[in-house]
């Protein structure tokens, strides 16, 4: 792999930039791998990278139905934060956040991590108390976040209307380390680094069946032929239920669309990420100047990657109240991603009822921010055949055992 650097750019300039090699190989699938990972989104590719990097497993394939990062990895609002309430969540999200901070250097790929700060507004007394509790929990977990008052909110983000008609801003939970990153670059960076370590990233290869013999996985049937494996990792977000059905078990997961939209580009007007959970809207400004906006997820199961109209209306109505300067802004694009929601709004990482099959799903609306931590913990789980201390609490059997990691109350909607 040719390293990317300022020197390399200068050097290539002398040869009309024709010497750049492909970022990752595009191999034909082999008949057998030690580990097959289904799904080349951020989580799948990160799992592959850390399997190779941390555990020396390089006979690994990542199978992708479409193209790299074409699912939720390319459909989110790119927010990264780790100020979660429950200790297991704080541990995994903070691992992810910490890995994000120098991921560009580690992968030699600019993921444009921008630690601009994430502000979660408190617009009801209840929410203010909840954030106070979270701030204390974060302090105990060693995660820097602070409760700020309305005046500080106004100084951090002057375009906020803090005297809103329905929900005046009472304060907020401020994590200065939080921020955004370029979401496609995260998938591309992991794919390039994993491919360089010997992992086969195979696009346009849809899994159509999973072979199980005597309660143990033996391989997968795909649109490009059968592929045998010792271990199989299902990392497919919204389609986890479909893959689980192929393998013969069910999951405590339901798939719903979550949508986002972007406005026309305008001059820089906010340099932080703001989440308004009470009114269901969150926003940041991209480097191009577009306002990147996310809202609530649909209330019913669907696999349409667009979401329902009523949520567009709800989201922009909420944001026009909170940010009155948006009221004349035109929206350019709107899309949806299929998120896999669990009952306690926490992910599932670990073993499944079928021996050799591991699952990583249920990230719901909070998948992007967790990619490096999720891949790290999933790789350890797959390599060891048993969950590590980060993945342990998120096992599939926590539902039967009643060990919920309740982030649904703590995180409201914008998770």
């Amino acid at each position: 792999m040719k390293r990317y650097s300022a020197f390399a750019v200068a050097k290539e300039a002398f040869s009309y930039h024709q010497g750049w090699e492909r970022a990752w190989r595009s191999p034909e699938p082999k008949g057998r791998y030690d580990v097959v990972i289904i799904g080349a989104g951020g989580h799948g590719l990160a799992t592959a990278y850390y399997l190779a990097k941390n555990h020396g497993l390089t006979n690994v394939a990542v199978l992708e139905k479409g193209w790299l990062g074409g699912g939720n990895t390319g459909r989110n609002t790119t927010i990264i934060r780790s100020n979660y309430l429950q200790p297991p969540s704080a541990a995994i999200y903070d691992l992810a956040h910490t890995l994000y901070e120098n991921l560009s250097q580690k992968l030699n790929f600019n993921i444009m991590f921008s630690p601009r700060g994430v502000l979660m507004l408190a617009q009801t007394e209840h929410e203010l108390r909840a954030w106070k509790r979270t701030a204390h929990a974060n302090r105990l977990a060693g995660i820097k976040s602070e409760l700020v008052d309305a005046e500080r909110v106004k100084s951090l983000c002057p375009i906020i209307n803090i005297d809103g008609p329905r929900y005046p801003v009472l304060g907020g939970l401020w994590q200065p380390r939080g921020g955004t990153a370029r979401h496609d670059a995260v998938a591309w960076g992991y794919a390039r680094a994993a491919s360089d370590l010997g992992v086969d990233v195979i696009q346009q290869c849809e899994v159509t069946g999973i072979d199980v013999e005597g309660g143990k996985v033996t391989g997968a049937q795909t649109s490009r032929g059968a592929i045998g494996c010792d271990k199989l990792a299902i990392v497919v977000a919204g389609h986890s239920g479909e893959l689980a059905r192929m393998a013969g078990f069910r999951l405590p997961v339901e798939s719903v669309p979550l949508q986002a939209l972007v406005s026309e580009p305008i001059k820089p007007c906010m340099d932080i990420v703001v989440m308004a959970n009470t009114v269901h809207g969150y926003m940041s400004q991209s480097d191009k100047g577009e306002m990147v906006i996310g809202g609530g997820s649909d209330g019913y199961n669907a696999f349409t990657q667009r979401g329902s109209f009523q949520h567009v209306e709800e989201t922009v109505r909420a944001l026009c109240e909170t940010f009155p300067i948006l009221s004349r802004l035109k929206m350019l694009r709107q899309w949806g991603g299929i998120v896999d929601m669990t009952g306690d709004r926490s992910p599932i990482i670990g073993k499944t009822p079928v021996e050799g099959i591991f699952i990583n799903c249920g990230w719901g609306t909070g998948g992007f921010k967790s990619i490096p931590g999720s891949g790290w913990a999933m790789a350890a789980t797959v390599a060891r055949g048993a969950p590590d201390e980060i993945a342990g609490p998120f096992s599939l059997d926590r539902f039967a055992e009643g060990r919920m990691i309740d982030e649904s109350v703590a995180a409201a909607v914008a998770h």
Binding site: G241, P252, F303, T304
Partner: protein, 106 residues
């Protein structure tokens, strides 16, 4: 916009008039049942990519619950029916089969 007809009052409602209630026809397991059955009833869902039977409540109308058969991929509604049943009525199943010959059954 998803439109469903409430079989209780006959009104055609937009989704903003309704509250979604999740998967229909769950078999309930109570105290004394096997752990696996209870877990399955509480948490595990079919979550199909295709034909889905689900509960809805006409929240901003007559206030009553009903069931709907809907495709989660195309959002096509095959029909709505009374909640006073433990399985989809034959005419709804026939409608689904007519439109989705490859459907494996609920």
């Amino acid at each position: 916009m998803l439109l469903l007809t409430c079989p209780n009052c006959g009104a055609e409602c937009a989704e903003t008039e309704l509250a979604a209630g999740g998967e229909a026809h769950l078999k309930r397991f109570g105290p004394g049942s096997e752990d696996g059955d209870f877990t399955s009833y509480l948490f595990q869902r079919k979550n199909p990519k295709g034909v889905h039977f689900e509960r809805w409540r006409h929240a901003f109308g007559c206030g009553k619950w009903f069931h709907a058969a809907r495709c989660t991929v195309t959002l096509e509604v095959f029909g709505t029916y009374s909640a006073q049943t433990t399985e989809p009525p034959k005419e709804i199943v026939d409608k689904v089969k007519a439109k989705r010959p490859e459907w494996e059954g609920w």
